[in-house]
């Protein structure tokens, strides 16, 4: 890295404690103009806290901040904005009933002269700006609620980009994006970097990090675990970044730094030999606005993956299956273990487990304890004649907290106080405690740290080896390649391909789901 220019932003010597817990200990983040620095680390490593210090949400115990070589301080989000530091948060922070235009300029220049809003002009300006900044084409007067998740995420990025930031922080921006939408986002990021913006990119997806970052800063337990540069003096293509096997090796090094020891990735394994009557039989399932006439089977002992771009219908699949296609305007038939699914309740009763995508809203009850969350689902195990058996409930909770390695290992902890990965373990634990046999997993590891992921995968594989079935709905293609026995690809509301394990590959799946290449012609999807 050239040192002749002052770094665009330099935040050094950051220490921060919450009560007795030190969450950041002498961490530094320095980014040059035009540089893309990836910030990686497991959940709880301190990434979010570091960003919150940078953007004025938290006050560090000690920290030195310089922007373009000049000392600066941020005590509030406003200060950060004034310095040109912008964040795109992982959660979509949008007001649903505002128009797209209002939301795009909210808090900035919603109005014309004297604070009065000229609606029509605002709408036109918004449509222009969205198209130019992130390639998003939507109506400026549509409600934010009317956009898809991906469109909302891009809208949020556009908000940040439009303010001509000097420092742009992207916090897990692709968690809810499918590959093609993510590519749009990457283009926008590269363009900004080329204009001299310093970009901090937080992600769990190392592949993306490898594609985008010049340098990777790894945090572990609140400290700097190490830095890995992805630039090389020799390489000229791709802006002087390393590629190929060399990059692969560097990313492996990043993983090591993150977890502090070498981990085995999703290992190669044999094609499973599932057999018997189908556990899950979906016939002619239709979800309004998402997909039509979809049929699939999940046999005992197999993991069936489903993927597709956001907007292809995948995001509606879990709800449609677990409600048995009984929502308004929906249709079709879902059978589970020979019984027809007519409601979420009958789905659960027939042995179905639903691990939903919106974990905090749908997966756990945040104000309830881990024990209560488990007891709510595993009612048969913890009650008799409708009466709760406290000692039994406690024992069941303790057992499953231990087996899924929820941390802290305390059944009385509030579920909402756990980290994302641990919350997901609780979601899985409650269904395991209930003894479910068919798992519908919807984006199960979005926002989940690497170590927790490994644990979740291990529990799932145990269940499958034991004869359970899994419907794995995800846009994380590496996850599919690692776990699934066969993968169905949705495109524009229809099944377009089925790939057996031997033919799985990230690039191939990406190509098919983005509609670039069709599945093997004439290949049958078993009905």
């Amino acid at each position: 890295m050239a040192a002749e220019v002052a770094p665009r932003v330099s935040l050094t010597g950051v220490r921060k404690s919450f009560g007795a817990v030190r969450v950041l200990d002498d961490v530094s983040l320095v980014v040059a103009p035009g540089e893309v620095v990836a910030l990686v680390g497991e959940n709880g490593a301190g990434k979010s806290t570091l960003i919150k210090v940078l953007t004025g949400f938290h006050r560090a115990d000690t920290a030195v901040l310089e922007v373009d070589g000049r000392p600066a301080s941020v005590a509030s989000a406003r200060d950060a904005e004034a310095l040109g530091i912008r964040v795109v948060h992982q959660d979509r922070h949008l007001a649903g009933r505002l128009s797209v235009a209002e939301q795009l300029y909210l808090g900035r220049d919603e109005g014309g002269r004297g604070g009065l809003v000229h609606r029509r002009e605002l709408v036109r300006r918004a449509e222009r700006d969205l198209a130019a900044s992130v390639g998003l084409h939507v109506r400026g007067d549509a409600l934010v609620d009317d956009l898809t998740v991906a469109e909302q995420q891009l809208l949020q990025v556009a908000r940040a980009v439009l303010t001509r930031p000097r420092v742009l922080v992207l916090d897990e921006p692709t968690a809810s994006l499918a590959a093609a939408e993510a590519a749009l986002l990457f283009d926008a990021v590269r363009r900004l970097a080329a204009e001299g913006v310093a970009v901090v990119y937080i992600s769990h997806y190392l592949q993306e990090v490898g594609d985008l970052a010049d340098r990777v800063l790894v945090l572990r337990n609140g400290r700097t675990a190490g830095e890995v540069s992805l630039r090389s003096a020799e390489s000229d293509d791709d802006g002087g970044r390393v590629a190929g096997a060399e990059r692969h090796a560097l990313l492996d090094r990043v993983v090591e730094l993150m977890v502090g020891h070498q981990v085995a990735g999703l290992g190669e394994r044999e094609q499973r030999r599932p057999g018997g009557e189908p556990l899950l039989a979906v016939d002619g399932l239709t979800a309004p606005g998402a997909f039509t006439d979809l049929s699939l089977r999940v046999l005992p002992g197999e993991v069936v993956g489903v993927t597709g771009l956001i907007g292809s219908g995948v995001e509606a699949l879990a709800d449609a299956v677990t409600t048995g296609g009984t929502a308004r305007g929906a249709g079709g038939r879902v059978g589970l273990g020979g019984r027809r699914v007519r409601s979420r309740r009958s789905f659960a009763r027939a042995g179905g487990a639903h691990v939903p995508a919106q974990r905090r809203r749908d997966g756990i009850v945040v104000r309830a304890t881990v024990r209560e969350n488990i007891g709510l689902t595993a009612t048969g195990q913890v009650s008799r004649w409708g009466l709760l058996l406290p000692r039994r409930e406690r024992a069941v909770a303790e057992r499953w907290v231990e087996r899924t390695d929820v941390r802290p290992a305390d059944p009385e902890a509030l579920a909402g106080s756990l980290s994302g990965g641990n919350q997901q373990k609780v979601v899985l634990a409650k269904w395991l405690a209930r003894g479910s046999r068919l798992f519908v997993l919807d984006q199960p590891t979005a926002g989940v740290d690497v170590a927790s992921r490994e644990q979740l995968y291990a529990r799932i594989e145990e269940q499958v080896d034991d004869g359970a079935g899994v419907l794995l709905i995800t846009t994380d293609l590496e996850e599919l390649v690692g776990l699934a026995d066969r993968v169905l690809v949705l495109h524009r509301g229809a099944l377009v391909a089925e790939l057996p394990r031997a033919e799985l590959g990230v690039e191939r799946l990406l190509a098919i789901s983005s509609g670039q290449r069709a599945g093997r012609q004439g290949q049958e999807v078993p009905a």
């Binding site: 922070h93 949008l94 007001a95 909210l106 919603e110 190509a511 069709a518 093997r520 049958e524 009905a527």
Partner: protein, 342 residues
């Protein structure tokens, strides 16, 4: 047996946008927006058929005059609902509105009766209202649920009204109160003119300014608004001040209309004010509280009371019919909202 079909392959690479120029609007179907207006029209037609007096100009003025107090207090409530959001327990609501209407009217009446000039009495009354608003604002910003904070401050305000009057009504006459009651500006009654001015100001502020856009954002998603740099707490605090100020103004109008500061009269108004502001959702395509919607709702409720009196239906029916009508209208909004949420 589903056979895999060849997908139409777009020629562009993976970085191409999903080719969808304009999103389909998933909002409420347009005809549903008219249900609220249809109910209003049906009501007007029914009363006109039943009573020849109802559709006259002078009766229209009566309805407007009666609706003015409700509407102005309703605008304040609407601002609180907009800025505070619509969560059942944590959302914005101002249960002290009724008490403040009563308190401000009584303070003005007591001062006037004691010989204070109106130039002093009216501002003092509004100031007293603002004090209640400031207590609400402080309590809510400190973290008390609005429902509870305003419930408690409202209880305090009504008991102050009783302490001030010893539960006896305080007559006022002449002066500003006389003008508000009987005066007119270019042929329009003074109270209607006041309503028009207040409506114009609040409707513009909420519907067409930066402040309004940010207030809506603060109410719908406070975190999002804060992230966008909107000082949410300041907006929330302001909303309670606005609500108290408008309630205070409504109280002055009410005292003028009744020619007396009447203790307890505001408490009866509270339900109507809440309903007026909440009902405004029905008149909005976005299903949000609006100021014009509040005006329409206030006139709806005022016309209802007026109409029942004219067709000689016992007062005990008014509450029941009001309740049922409101349920119908709100139910339509609820059903509509569900269809929006897919």
């Amino acid at each position: 047996m589903t056979l895999v079909t060849e997908t139409p392959a777009p020629s562009s690479g993976p970085s191409a946008a999903p080719a969808q120029a304009r999103p389909r609007r998933r909002g409420a179907p347009p005809w549903l927006v008219w249900v609220g207006y249809a109910a209003l029209a049906a009501q007007l037609v029914a009363f006109s058929l039943l009573s020849p007096v109802f559709p006259t100009a002078s009766n229209a003025v009566t309805v407007l005059t009666q609706g003015a107090v409700l509407a102005i207090a309703g605008f304040g409530m609407a601002v609180v609902l907009i800025t505070g959001g619509d969560d059942v327990l944590r959302g914005g609501i101002d249960l002290s509105t009724g008490a403040v209407v009563g308190l401000s009217g009584v303070v003005a009446a007591v001062l006037t009766a004691a010989g204070t000039s109106a130039v002093v009495a009216l501002p003092v009354a509004l100031l007293v209202a603002l004090v209640v608003g400031a207590v609400n604002a402080a309590a809510v910003v400190l973290g008390v649920r609005p429902l509870l904070a305003t419930l408690a401050s409202g209880a305090v305000a009504s008991s102050v009204t009783l302490v001030l009057t010893q539960n006896v009504k305080v007559p006022v006459s002449g002066g500003v109160f006389g003008w508000l009651r009987d005066g007119s500006v270019v042929g329009l009654p003074a109270s209607v003119v006041v309503l028009a001015v207040v409506f114009a100001v609040t409707a513009t502020a909420v519907g067409a300014t930066r402040w309004g856009v940010r207030a809506y954002a603060a109410g719908q998603n406070p975190v999002a608004a804060a992230v966008a740099g909107v000082p949410v707490q300041r907006y929330v605090a302001t909303s309670y001040l606005v609500s108290a100020l408008l309630a205070g103004l409504a109280g002055l109008l009410l005292t003028a209309r009744l020619s007396a500061g009447v203790p307890g009269v505001g408490d009866q108004l509270l339900l109507d004010v809440i309903l007026t502001a909440s009902m405004s959702v029905v008149f909005s395509r976005r299903l949000v509280v609006t100021i014009p919607g509040t005006l329409v709702s206030a006139l709806f409720v005022a016309a209802l009371t007026n109409g029942f009196t004219l067709v000689n239906v016992g007062s005990q029916w008014v509450g029941a019919v009001k309740g049922v009508l409101i349920l119908l209208v709100v139910a339509v909004a609820a059903v509509r909202e569900r269809s929006v949420q897919r």
